[in-house]
């Protein structure tokens, strides 16, 4: 690895289970110290990728490097520097939550006592309950506390908030922010877009075993139109606006003009609106949601068209 700031580097990863292809040449790069969102719908290959990065599964083809190590060959060494929260947390039915946190911490090589105490309080976790008595959300809290209280420089989180309520999600977001300040690297797999949008600097969108887009949110947004809604004293006709460069989906309703515009032409659009007496203007960058759907639509479209 010539780029020392890369925490996870994956090139052309392939994995099939029987006749099912789970990963079809997946590339992924996560920089050290960033919170990286790994987005995709169910069955797109997120968990398979994470399991390969953990050395639980062996890739059929391609190369994966995690913290400079081969996750299959050096899995034990690698695991001392990472903490993992599985998507479906299972606890030992006879061990209490507190015992499980301690055990996982010790297996990993220790955890920060102060942080452990603070996290247990923040997540309002009853540590004395046995594993079988916890709800899904509480099982997830146990695994999260164990991972967040560890000293590991890399955290791999597989849909960690799936069972958490909004209050606890807020706690989780604050913890993520804290991790980022401390320079930890986090790979956060999710299909909850708002969560990724709040927490992640960079995002990779995966579909059908391949990363279809990767970059900062600004970069990704750049490729997608901005939604504009303007209140005007002099309303032009829809046809007129539609003829301006870079405008799409134009509609006029009373004094309200709605349209989407390519980011490169936003400048020109604002200049064209200014002389018409703007009384209200909202200009919204695409939400990740829209970004996501746009990517999916084009991908799906491409697949439908026979080559």
């Amino acid at each position: 690895m010539d780029d020392v700031t890369t925490a996870i580097d994956v090139v052309g990863l392939r994995k099939s289970f029987g006749h099912t292809t789970a990963l079809d040449g997946l590339d992924l790069a996560v920089r050290e110290g960033e919170v990286h969102g790994f987005l995709g719908p169910n069955g797109s290959g997120k968990s398979t990728t994470l399991r390969i990065l953990l050395g639980l599964l062996r890739a059929d083809d391609g190369r994966a490097t995690v913290l400079g190590r081969d996750p299959w060959a050096d899995s034990t060494e690698l695991h001392r520097s990472l903490a993992y929260v599985p998507g479906d947390v299972v606890l030992w039915p006879t061990l209490t939550g507190g015992e499980t946190i301690d055990l996982l911490g010790r297996l990993r090589g220790g955890l920060d006592e102060d942080r452990r105490r603070r996290l247990v309080d923040a997540f309002e976790l009853d540590e004395t309950k046995k594993g079988k008595a916890y709800s899904k959300g509480n099982r997830q809290k146990v695994a999260l506390v164990a991972a967040l209280a560890s000293e590991a420089p890399l955290l791999v989180l597989d849909e960690p908030t799936a069972g958490l309520d909004p209050l606890m999600e807020q706690v989780f977001q604050e913890e993520l922010a804290g991790l980022r300040e401390r320079g930890r690297t986090v790979l956060l797999s999710s299909h909850v877009l708002s969560e990724v949008e709040r927490a992640c600097e960079r995002v990779s969108i995966v579909r059908a075993g391949r990363v279809v887009d990767s970059g900062t949110l600004t970069e990704l947004r750049h490729l997608t139109r901005t939604t504009v809604q303007a209140e005007l004293r002099e309303v032009p006709t829809a046809v007129e606006v539609g003829a301006w460069p870079g405008t799409h989906d134009v509609s006029v309703e009373g004094s309200t003009l709605r349209l989407t515009v390519d980011p490169d032409h936003l400048d020109a659009l604002v200049a064209a609106l200014a002389p018409r007496g703007v009384t209200g203007l909202t200009c919204r960058p695409p939400t990740l949601e829209e970004l996501f759907l746009a990517r999916y639509r084009t991908e799906a479209h491409r697949e439908e068209v026979p080559a």
């Binding site: 953990l54 050395g55 639980l56 599964l57 062996r58 899995s75 034990t76 060494e77 695991h79 001392r80 990472l82 903490a83 993992y84 599985p86 479906d88 947390v89 299972v90 606890l91 030992w92 039915p93 006879t94 061990l95 209490t96 507190g98 015992e99 499980t100 946190i101 301690d102 055990l103 996982l104 010790r106 297996l107 990993r108 090589g109 540590e127 004395t128 309950k129 046995k130 079988k132 008595a133 695994a143 791999v156």
Partner: protein, 532 residues
């Protein structure tokens, strides 16, 4: 009533679909056990006179009766089934426990019942489906055995009575398990209750049957296995005993339904307890974790070994009463080996019996590795810096240590109690040594389980098949005239004749090496495969 049972038909079909292999295979195995061993014995002793001459004294002996139940020694038919009545009744009861539990508490614990229960399914329907499948298994095994025995030309009424003995035990444990799965909140807990009851019932009837009359003998009527034994097929044919089994079934099902009507989904009656907020200092590594998780099971087995040791040891006093009937001596020699006194021979055959049971515990402990992988628990441990070798090794090591402990505990107990019960019993060290000498065979099965779970966890149940072969071969091989290669498959067939005879040093060394090799191969394979 109908709303409480809504969806029963569908659940029943689902259960039968899931059991389409295990159910017919178990029933077939049980029928082969009863009919096959009867046929082999009848070939050995074709008429009443030769059978009574050969086996008559044996089945009258208190030690043998304690193991196999009372047998009417009057004719060849009764003697042809003397081993399979009680052994089969226990196995039918085990089948009943497994089938009921599998479709009720296991489904609930693993969350599938929540999915099913949210549909248009009555509150009673899942339990009812489990009970019906288990009853089907019990009736099929018992009924087909009756038909099979009658088809050998054995007395029809006695053949029916044989099936009744099995069905009595089966019905009783369907009822017991129907309650157990409601009381305990985990599969393992329910199994502990149901199998614990089975073990206690066996010990109670063994003690009761070892004496001919009096209060202790009457106590046998408190054990459903005692009822099964006292049917005495091809003798008194007490088929009315079936009513007692049915009564337990009805009572157990009624209790189960009553508890079910009052408890929450996922809960039991035995409350979930709180535990420590922090882990003990000792809970640090994979071995500490695996042994901590096995503590309950190991404790239960140690208690079982102590009780079993007291029973076996005290029966040593009765064995000496066996006369030196040459035909019977031949039979005993075939069973336990040809060396030493009658006490030695008796003990040698019992060590094998115990070794198979202990091997079952060892296999179960190793297979927990596969279970943790299936449940997703392994996914919590392996990404923590615990190497696969240590995780695998922890499971095998716990199994090896636990089985060693069990055999030493029962060996020491039999040694102490035996020398108190009989002056001609083998000494303490000889007894302990005889039990310890079976360890290599036990370890081979632990190794097989390790290899299977390491390489192909889906094939891991094959370890149980090998264990069953070992059990059947050990118990019935000599009388059933099984093919030599099948006998050789069983590691238990290669043990020496201890106590009293020689320790098969070479075989023991080879088996220990084989166990080590199997374990190592499993470790290698486990390090190389995907962990799902």
């Amino acid at each position: 009533m109908t709303t409480r049972l809504a969806g029963l038909g569908r659940l029943l079909r689902l259960a039968l679909r899931r059991d389409r292999v295990i159910l017919p295979a178990s029933v077939l195995g049980l029928v082969l056990l009863s009919v096959g061993s009867a046929q082999a014995t009848l070939e050995l002793f074709p008429d009443d006179a030769s059978a009574v001459a050969g086996l008559g004294d044996l089945v009258g002996n208190p030690a043998v009766v304690a193991m196999y139940g009372p047998i009417s020694a009057a004719d060849a038919d009764a003697l042809a089934v003397f081993k399979t009545v009680m052994m089969g009744a226990v196995l039918v009861a085990v089948l009943a426990v497994v089938l009921v539990r599998r479709h009720t508490r296991t489904e609930e614990e693993e969350g599938r019942l929540e999915l099913v229960g949210a549909g248009a399914v009555g509150r009673w329907a899942p339990l009812a489906a489990g009970i019906l499948v288990a009853l089907l298994g019990v009736v099929a095994a018992s009924g087909l055995s009756s038909l099979g025995l009658a088809s050998l030309g054995m007395d029809p009424a006695g053949s029916v009575a044989f099936g009744v003995a099995w069905a009595t035990a089966g019905f009783a444990w369907v009822g017991v398990t129907a309650t157990a799965v409601q009381l305990a909140s985990t599969t393992r807990g329910a199994g502990g209750l149901a199998f614990g009851t089975l073990g206690a019932a066996f010990v109670l009837r063994a003690a009761a049957d070892s004496v001919d009359d009096g209060v202790v003998h009457a106590l046998g009527w408190a054990s459903p296995l005692g009822w099964a034994g006292r049917v005495e097929p091809y003798g008194p044919d007490r088929t009315w005993v079936l009513l007692l089994g049915l009564a337990v079934l009805v009572a157990g099902v009624a209790t189960g339904l009553a508890v079910l009507g009052r408890r929450d989904l996922g809960a039991g009656v035995l409350p979930a307890r709180l535990g420590p907020a922090r882990a003990a200092r000792s809970l640090t590594g994979p071995f500490a974790l695996v042994s901590r998780l096995a503590t309950g099971t190991v404790t239960g087995w140690v208690v079982g070994m102590l009780v079993g040791g007291v029973v076996l040891g005290s029966l040593l006093g009765a064995v000496g009463d066996l006369t030196s009937n040459p035909a019977m001596a031949r039979f005993l020699e075939a069973l336990g080996g040809s060396a030493g006194t009658v006490e030695d021979i008796y003990l040698a055959s019992e060590t094998r019996f115990v070794a198979v049971a202990v091997a079952a515990a060892g296999v179960a402990l190793v297979l927990r590795l596969g279970a943790s992988e299936r449940s997703g628990l392994g996914e919590s441990v392996l990404p923590t810096g615990t190497s696969r070798l240590r995780w695998y090794g922890a499971h095998v090591l716990v199994a090896v240590l636990a089985t060693t402990l069990f055999l030493l505990v029962i060996g020491a107990t039999v040694g102490v109690v035996g020398s108190l019960a009989s002056s001609s019993a083998p000494g303490f060290w000889a007894t302990l040594g005889a039990f310890a000498a079976t360890l290599p065979a036990v370890w081979v099965l632990v190794g097989v389980a390790g290899l299977l779970v390491g390489a192909r966890p889906r094939l891991a149940p094959l370890a149980w098949a090998l264990l069953l072969v070992g059990f059947v071969v050990g118990e019935l091989g000599p009388t059933m005239d099984l093919p030599g290669w099948l006998v050789d498959v069983s590691p238990f067939a290669h043990l020496g004749q201890l106590p009293g005879g020689d320790f098969a040093v070479l075989a023991a060394a080879v088996m220990t090496l084989a166990a080590a090799g199997l374990t190592a191969a499993g470790a290698l394979a486990y390090g190389r495969r995907d962990v799902a």
